[in-house]
């Protein structure tokens, strides 16, 4: 599946922040700079919803998360805003991992088993009766055993308390993920984070740039970066959450781009065509060496 998935993505241009950034002057003659923002980009597609401003006025927009993000995130409401050298994109009421029911059977079974072991934890007397089955259960969830271990009974109880007491289908909720840029600086803030129903104050507040959510051992497979910052000449982009799989960006949430103080004269942002992708022409075919008998 992973190979198919990665192959399916090959050839797709990575769309981060391709919106044109220019500067203009406001009514008082002070120089202004453009900016842009979008809510979510999936699989290299242009971010949606998107707004762009030439700096003379503030543009705002909103929408909901694309359905394709299903297994990763859902339910979020997106708000984007772009003005004079400042832009923001926010996702509120985000639920992560909500599509657990759609996971492959081995993952689902593994988590169900984990829940069962946790439920029986109260009856266990000996340390080994607690830790061995729990760690075995953790190891049965593909990928989980390499990053999670429960070394003590206290850790086991804490882990299980959170797991059992909550709706497993909503692994984590985020009140707000907000990205903001001003000139050449950017911030990403999280608020009201709950993991398995338990508030996580440690995860709230401003997130340091380039915060990696996955351990380095998984980097070759997948990376989730919070507060990814991309300086690009006069432009500066900050992405709230960036998911890369196999070295390719597959999703970006809450991206904001600010223009620099000096740039070319005003260029009007072209209105989005009804079908923007159609402006891109299909590729000229590359002949393939194969045998396919035809009627001659």
């Amino acid at each position: 599946m992973r190979t198919t998935f990665q192959a399916g993505l090959s050839g797709l241009a990575i769309t981060a922040t391709a919106l044109l950034v220019v500067t203009a002057s406001n009514a008082t003659g002070d120089p202004v700079s453009s900016s842009s923002a979008y809510g979510a980009s999936v699989g290299g597609t242009p971010g949606q919803p998107a707004v762009a401003s030439d700096g003379t006025s503030t543009q705002t927009g909103g929408g909901s998360l694309p359905a394709q993000l299903g297994p990763l995130a859902s339910g979020g409401v997106l708000e984007v805003s772009a003005g004079d050298d400042t832009a923001s994109a926010a996702v509120t009421n985000l639920t992560l991992g909500s599509a657990l029911a759609q996971l492959p059977p081995e993952v689902k079974d593994g988590i169900a088993n984990l829940n069962q072991v946790c439920a029986g934890l109260g009856q266990a007397g000996q340390v080994n009766e607690v830790l061995t089955p729990l760690n075995d259960a953790i190891n049965q969830v593909p990928g989980l055993g390499t990053v999670v271990e429960v070394p003590t009974v206290e850790a086991a109880q804490a882990f299980c308390n959170q797991l059992v007491d909550t709706d497993i289908l909503d692994l984590a909720t985020v009140g707000t993920l907000k990205t903001q840029c001003t000139d050449q600086t950017g911030t990403v803030t999280l608020s009201d984070v709950e993991v398995l129903g338990a508030p996580q104050p440690v995860l709230a507040g401003e997130i340091a740039p380039e915060t990696q959510l996955l351990p380095p051992e998984l980097a070759a497979v997948a990376k989730i970066t919070l507060n990814h910052q991309v300086p690009d000449g006069e432009n500066f982009t900050v992405e709230g959450l960036r998911l890369e799989v196999g070295g390719q960006v597959v999703a970006v949430l809450a991206s904001a781009t600010c223009g620099g103080p000096q740039a070319e004269p005003v260029v009007q942002q072209a209105p989005a065509p009804a079908k923007p992708t159609k402006t891109k022409q299909a590729p000229k075919p590359t002949p393939v060496k194969t045998s396919a008998p035809v009627t001659g």
Partner: protein, 262 residues
């Protein structure tokens, strides 16, 4: 946040649970990215026939308007996708991202979340619906028209004629099938040395179930002897002059080819 060596117990628990979340999320994305829930629930892709030039799809709906032009939209499936007779119905086939090179199909209709395409399988004129979310959408400015009666072929770009040639078409017993189809592939086939390049179409001979070991696929290709042009002489294929083949080689796959009897 991923420092597992921290001695802070609360921090460790947060880390462990957070990692559970993200690992599960990544596994979910890796294994089921882009699938629609109903697809996962209902569709076993391994049991579906791939819509290729070799396939016969008796359940496929037929093109309701076989002489109509389209707006030039073509699509490429990002992964193996189910093909549906109608949005929300049970799928009757699947389409793969590559068959003769990348798969590109012409779009004949679109509804919210769904895209209707021409298919390259028998019966001629087979069509089906795909989920738009899993398609790369592009545009081709070209259209090719073949007139079997006058043995002429026209290549249009943005509605303007780029070229017009006299070609060879199917003989009376093995006529070139009419209707709209599309450029399916661009191949170099050492076993078929009559042309340096062969451009198979999505349509098939109506009179030959098989030909040369293949499923009777109709194609554009060149021919060593120019005396054939202007004649109804082939087994269904459209033999074109070298200049025409050269220009056709630039045309994106998925481009509409409309064949009539004029």
């Amino acid at each position: 946040m991923t420092d597992r060596q921290t001695t802070d117990a609360a921090g460790s628990r947060s880390n462990a649970v957070l990692l559970l979340v993200v690992v599960v999320a990544v596994i979910a994305v890796l294994t089921s990215w882009g699938n629609q829930p109903e697809e996962r629930a209902d569709v076993d892709l391994t049991k579906l026939v791939a819509s290729t030039t070799k396939a016969k799809l008796p359940q496929a709906p037929l093109d309701p308007d076989p002489m109509a032009a389209t707006d030039g939209t073509v699509v490429h499936p990002r992964r193996v996708l189910p093909v549906y007779a109608a949005p929300g119905r049970k799928p009757f086939a699947k389409i793969t991202p590559t068959q003769m090179g990348d798969t590109w199909l012409p779009v004949i209709d679109q509804q919210e979340g769904w895209t209707q395409v021409l298919l390259p399988s028998r019966p001629n004129g087979s069509i089906g619906w795909l989920r738009t979310a899993q398609l790369v959408e592009r545009y081709t400015p070209y259209v090719v028209r073949v007139h079997t009666g006058s043995r002429r072929m026209q290549l249009f770009r943005d509605g303007k004629t780029l070229g017009e040639w006299t070609v060879a078409v199917g003989a009376p017993g093995t006529p070139t099938p009419t209707g709209r189809t599309f450029l399916l592939g661009s191949i170099v086939d050492e076993k078929q040395d009559f042309s340096p390049l062969i451009l198979p179409l999505g349509t098939h001979s109506a009179t030959l179930d098989t030909y040369g070991g293949g499923p009777g696929t109709v194609a554009f290709h060149g021919w060593p002897n120019t005396s054939v042009f202007g004649k109804a002489i082939s087994h269904g294929c459209i033999r074109v002059p070298a200049d025409a083949l050269d220009q056709l080689s630039q045309v994106p796959l998925g481009t509409l080819v409309i064949i009539d009897q004029q």
